[in-house]
């Protein structure tokens, strides 16, 4: 029977809802803010024409990067290893602390509003400052070397992992939680057996991601005296040894790439 196609049974199709005026207002505001930020009078004076015209000016400096001075390579082994060690220690401590902290930052595992808000608040404060500023503060507190770098990275890692993981915890399947509740388990047991197995692959993935970020970040941290390969970057930059700089950059690139390959492989096995 196809009688209902046109006659009595068919309900009328709804009219397309009108676009909300807020869409136009939002687009307008976006354009105004962009102009304000870039303009000559109010903003930073961003000018595309000037960028294009001066594009070739950096070429002479870039040329100094080549050919890379490979004889410099052996001098970077020690600092690169230090960077690696800093990243390992900071990742283990940071991700270890982030695990319980992220359970306290989700209403699913922490129904107590006061604890939840306190934990979220602390995490927001930690995330508000960039790692480089932490490094500056810690360098002035405990002196130059890898220790302030590790301390800065630990805070950075807690901020990142706890944020991502607590949002993952928000989205877990509530069924197993109901099951542990019904079996008379307490909250700790519920988190351990109903929630943790569900978020474990994500936790590992976030930890590997943070480890990668640490390798990259410690290159920058060294500039303020917080240890690792960044110290070398700072030195060669000051003496304009760009052929040495390119060796360091290539080395970091290869290193991060290898870590990325390993973490892809690990994630695939775990999820």
């Amino acid at each position: 029977m196809t009688a209902s196609t046109s006659s009595l049974g068919a309900t009328q199709r709804p009219a397309k809802p009108r676009r909300s005026p807020w869409t136009i207002i939002a687009i307008g505001a976006f354009l105004v803010i962009t102009w304000w930020a870039a303009s000559e009078e109010f903003g930073i004076g961003f000018d595309v024409v000037r960028v294009v015209n001066n594009l070739t000016r950096g070429a002479s400096i870039l040329a100094e990067f080549f050919p890379p001075n490979w004889s410099y390579l052996p001098q970077t082994y020690g600092p690169m290893l230090e960077t690696f060690k800093m990243a390992v220690i900071a990742s283990i401590i940071g991700c270890g602390v982030a695990l319980p902290v992220s359970f306290l930052a989700s209403r699913v595992t922490t129904p107590n509003l006061a604890i939840f808000l306190a934990d979220r608040g602390i995490l927001n404060v930690i995330r508000a400052l960039p790692d480089l500023l932490y490094a500056l503060v810690f360098v002035s507190a405990v002196g130059v070397g890898p220790l302030p770098g590790i301390m800065a990275l630990v805070l950075f890692n807690i901020g990142v992992v706890a944020k991502l993981l607590s949002e993952t915890v928000d989205g877990v399947d509530p069924g197993p939680i109901e099951a542990t509740d019904a079996a008379g388990g307490n909250r700790t047991q519920m988190v351990r057996w109903a929630v943790l197995p569900q978020v474990l692959p994500n936790y590992v993935a976030y930890s590997l991601y943070v480890f990668e970020l640490n390798i990259r970040a410690s290159a920058v941290l060294g500039i303020v005296g917080a240890g690792g390969i960044g110290n070398n970057i700072n030195t060669v930059r000051r003496f304009f040894q760009y052929d040495n700089m390119s060796v360091i950059l290539i080395e970091i690139f290869v290193f991060v790439f290898i870590i990325e390959l390993i973490s892809i492989w690990l994630r695939r096995r775990l999820v």
Partner: protein
């Protein structure tokens, strides 16, 4: 024994899911609750282990008030009541054995269970529970690799691992095909008879209810509208519970043993 004394549940939205229910369920009974969805079947079952808090009256489990129980007492009560769910509620990313061991959490102690160092006796009880539902060979398989019927049997094993006096089953076969439904219902019936565990099951297929329900409770709009044996429950009774004439959708139909007897 479980006793409802004028028990009522009103949800925050104002929905009265349970209205003044008074009901006694003696030890060892196999009781089936029928009714349309939204009639309050799930609420009735969850009021017994306090997963849904009462807003009026009380439920007594072996003489202990569920409504007045402190969190610790409530966990104590719950540890004696196994629960089986429509969607199984297994942790799919871990082994079958770990899922069944969730039934041993209450007695395991927080520190031990946190580290996963279960006592050998707990593991033994979990294994025996798996044997009882005939699925022990899957103990170390990831739960996600099981079929629906197998998952529900793991769910039953998890409830059994609590060594419960009561089992609550909330639509245990609603996600399963008809033959598997009968396997699971027969498992529940066998457990009820062999271990003398009070078994309370929500079902929406009437023929299943008649076959497996020693006693049938009918619910409509949060109220008890029928209480009798499966044999007494004829079509007229079900029409009354459902408030409409019955259709083929209300029967599972396929290969229901002895279903025609009514």
């Amino acid at each position: 024994m479980i006793r409802f004394e004028n028990a009522s549940v009103t949800y925050p939205g104002g929905v009265e899911a349970l209205k003044n229910v008074t009901l006694e369920i003696p030890d060892g009974q196999m009781m089936v609750i029928v009714g349309l969805s939204g009639a309050g079947k799930s609420t009735l079952i969850r009021a017994i282990n306090g997963l849904v808090p009462l807003t009026g009256g009380d439920v007594m489990v072996d003489g202990v008030s569920v409504r007045e129980a402190k969190p610790k007492q409530l966990r104590e009560i719950r540890s004696k009541i196994g629960m089986i769910f429509q969607t199984f509620n297994l942790v799919k990313r871990t082994s079958v054995l770990n899922n069944v061991l969730m039934g041993r959490l209450h007695g395991a102690g927080t520190m031990r269970s946190l580290l996963g160092w279960y006592k050998p006796v707990d593991i033994e009880i979990a294994m025996q529970s798996l044997e009882r539902v005939g699925i022990v060979e899957k103990a170390y398989v990831r739960a996600s690799n099981l079929s629906g019927g197998q998952m529900q049997r793991v769910g039953i094993a998890r409830a059994l691992a609590q060594e419960p006096t009561t089992i609550l089953a909330d639509e245990p076969v609603a996600s399963l095909d008809p033959p598997t439904s009968h396997v699971v219902m027969r498992d529940l019936q066998r457990i009820n008879r062999e271990l003398n565990i009070t078994t309370i099951v929500n079902l929406h297929f009437l023929d299943l209810a008649k076959v497996y329900g020693e006693r049938i409770i009918g619910m409509r709009n949060g109220e008890l509208v029928y209480d009798g044996t499966g044999a007494q429950a004829d079509e007229r009774v079900f029409r009354d519970i459902y408030g409409r004439s019955l259709t083929a959708d209300d029967m599972m139909g396929q290969d229901a043993p002895a279903a025609a007897a009514g």
